[in-house]
Amino acid sequence: MISIDRVSKQFETSRARRHLALSDISLSVARGEFVSILGPSGCGKSTLLYIVGGFVEQSSGAVIVDDNPVTGPGPDRGPVFQEFALFPWKTVLGNVMYGLDQRGMPKDEALARSRELLTMVKLSGYENFYPKELSGGMKQRVAIARTLAYRPNILLMDEPFGALDAHTRTKLQNDLLGIWEKDRKTVLFVTHSVEEAVFLSDRVVMMTSSPGRIKDIIKINLPRPRERAALLLNRRYQDYVVEIEKMMDEQPETRVS
């Protein structure tokens, strides 16, 4: 379980002014819940995710994960970034094996686990490719496999499909839900796409920008497992999308800092 308790984050900007990126954010995410954080760019939603990941320190407040306050990164929380952040000097297999290797898992065990994950993300046969030889969608599959390899309880996904074309994006959304259905990890998913948030999530957290605050939290009552084609025709799904889009439009556009 993730408990975000009155977290704020201030950045010192170049002009020696302070920018309040996040203001007094409180949010609880239950075990096995899929929660999306939706907001315009610059609203601090990624910063919030980095704070939960332990990559960025909050200015005030606390994040508690399974009764332990977050003080740094840990293998219980696995990040997936929009930029993939793959190691360019390692092959696909090398990327997935890296964490297991470094933590001292026996070679053959790490190899078996990595191959199993590459099969799960539909990339078996690409073990010896370098990331630069893959398409964006394939790179993100590798990154997801690399993160799942060390079995985090929580996935922190930072606009993971934001850099992909529409077709690849929907394919990866479907595959992600398929993988998630198997063991229902807790997922915190940052996005600026309303459809993506509604399609994937149990709850959608809407944020406003400057300073980043939680505007509203909407529970998505749609049956699982979800299937995209059926959902697109589902009246309730459509209503959610229209309602959330309307609420998003209500907030003024802000300059990107």
Partner: protein
């Protein structure tokens, strides 16, 4: 054009200016502007070079120079890369090393050579010390700058997998900074070639630099040019070997243009 064909083509083009330079040399020698005793024609010099390159006594001197070059350069790489990386990882190390680098980097290291010969003697040690002193700073600075510029999400991905900060420094930051590190090493290698020769010219009883000075003092102009040709050919070979190593180490990185 395929890369291989274009490489051969580039090499063929590259030979032309060198041939012109040698032709100019031949022209000056034939014009009588300089007497052959002072400027021997290239044919005579290359003939002597071919003679020397199979003579064990000459090769012994070349070997001595190469030994100093490689030991000095090797230690410079080791020290430069290690300090450069540790500076990135630890504010304490950075605050100690940075002022030292600032003071020592602009000092003309050749001015330290008399001190080196007095303290370390006239043998290998003083020449190696000079090579280290001169080659280390560009490598250190390139490593530090390159490591600072590494995308933080690469390190976050490792830290989230449970890899310690120190291990992350050497298994992620260092390989990610490799393009910059190798640029520093190339500069360091060129400097090493120059400096080892220079040191041998100033005070030495062996090595190619010593052969050149000895020949010049005895007006053996043909023998004076032979070490010069040897060191430039060695430089060419070292550069080619370095490029091959660089291509291998950076095989996963996107092509540079």
């Amino acid at each position: 054009m395929s890369p291989r064909v274009s490489n051969t083509f580039d090499m063929a083009i590259g030979v032309i200016p060198i041939a012109l330079l040698i032709a100019l040399w031949q022209g000056i020698a034939m014009s009588g502007a300089a007497p052959p005793s002072l400027l021997p024609p290239p044919g005579v010099v290359f003939g002597r070079f071919l003679q020397q390159i199979v003579s064990p006594a000459y090769l012994e001197h070349a070997y001595v120079t190469l030994y100093r070059l490689f030991v000095g350069f090797g230690i410079a790489v080791l020290a430069g890369v290690t300090f450069g990386i540790l500076m990135t990882g630890s504010k304490a190390v950075a605050s100690i090393v940075r002022p030292i680098v600032r003071v020592l980097a602009p000092v003309p290291k050749i001015a330290l050579y008399p001190a080196f010969t007095l303290t370390l003697g006239y043998d290998d040690a003083s020449k190696i010390a000079l090579v280290i002193a001169d080659a280390m700073f560009p490598i250190l600075l390139a490593t530090y700058q390159g490591a600072l510029a590494v995308e933080p999400k690469l390190a976050w991905s490792a830290r989230a997998a449970g890899v310690s900060p120190l291990k992350t420094l050497f298994t992620v930051i260092l390989p990610a900074a490799m393009p910059s590190v190798l640029t520093g090493c190339r500069i360091g290698l060129i400097i090493s070639c120059i400096v080892v020769f220079l040191a041998e010219m100033i005070t030495s009883t062996d090595g190619l630099g010593h052969l050149l000075v000895r020949a010049a003092r005895n007006f053996q102009t043909v023998d004076m040019f032979v070490p010069l040709i040897t060191i430039s050919i060695l430089g060419l070979l070292l550069n080619a070997a370095f490029n091959a190593l660089r291509r291998y180490l950076l095989r996963g990185f996107p092509e540079e243009k």
